[in-house]
């Protein structure tokens, strides 16, 4: 089972992201949810996660710190991180990619935006269970 962790302090945003993932062919995956970066890191440390999708603007630990935490840890830095954020201008996107984000998707999220990011990173067969870049 492929596991996707969605970190966002908004229940609405988490629901929309998961619904979009299901819309683009990832229904049946295991979706984990976290309300901030700290909770996301705790889940990543005890659960196998294949893809992390995170917001930036969160209480307790924001998405930037979560991204840095994931990418600075040899045990989990292989996990692809897609950032979904309303904070989307070119400077922000460059900064997030510099610190390790594989993809930056601007809110409001849509299935189309998510599909483009998934295909671009994982290839057209991203929904396949044999997808090699989905660990």
């Amino acid at each position: 089972m492929k596991t996707i962790l969605v970190a966002d302090d908004s229940a609405t945003a988490r629901m929309v992201i998961i619904r979009c993932l299901e819309c683009v062919g990832l229904q049946g995956r295991s979706f984990l949810e976290a309300v901030n970066g700290k909770e996301a890191l705790e889940k990543i440390r005890v659960t196998h996660v294949d893809l992390l999708i995170t917001d930036i603007n969160m209480p307790v630990m924001d998405g930037r710190s979560l991204l840095l935490g994931v990418k600075s840890s040899p045990k989990i830095n292989h996990i692809p991180v897609f950032v979904v954020t309303s904070l989307g201008n070119p400077a922000m996107e460059i900064e997030l990619k510099r610190i390790g984000a594989e993809k930056v998707i601007h809110k409001p999220i849509s299935p189309d935006k998510l599909m483009i990011a998934l295909e671009d990173f994982f290839g057209k067969d991203f929904a396949s269970d044999s997808q090699p870049r989905f660990p």
Partner: protein, 143 residues
């Protein structure tokens, strides 16, 4: 305006207004601070019925079953997304920015710490009010 993409509703700018505002039944608001650049607080004010309508559209839950915390969450997310989109459109491409966390509450706008301009938008037969900092219209803010 990005509300159509957020809440599947057509939203049309009507006019700039000043308090006292037209009566809003069961008003609910959310405020967010723009930390960088120093723009100030911006906010949204609308009726509980209208945010319930948005929440029903987004979540697919009948209005009468929507819990209060989900209404506030949806309103905050709406404002957060709107603020990000507004700033992205105004800022120079090489300029980083940051937002605080949105805070929602019942009633009209609380005291906003900076001068603001109030914009009224029509949503069908309802309306909502967006408070934008006066600094928003100052070109130096965005350099």
């Amino acid at each position: 305006m990005t509300f159509e993409g957020l809440a599947f509703e057509e939203v049309v700018f009507e006019e700039t207004i000043s308090p006292p505002f037209p009566e809003i039944p069961e008003p609910i608001h959310s405020i967010i601070q723009v930390d960088t650049p120093t723009v100030g607080e911006l906010g949204i004010l609308l009726s509980r019925q209208l945010i319930l309508q948005f929440t029903e559209s987004i979540h697919g839950i009948p209005m009468e079953e929507i819990p209060a915390d989900l209404v506030n969450d949806n309103l905050n997310e709406l404002l957060n997304t709107l603020a990000g989109r507004i700033l992205s459109g105004k800022l120079a491409e090489n300029r980083l920015y940051s937002l605080g966390l949105p805070r929602s509450g019942t009633g009209s706008f609380p005291q906003i710490s900076n001068p603001v301009r109030y914009l009224k938008f029509l949503v069908g037969e309802n309306f909502l009010i967006i408070a934008l900092p006066e600094r928003f219209w100052t070109p130096d803010t965005w350099k």
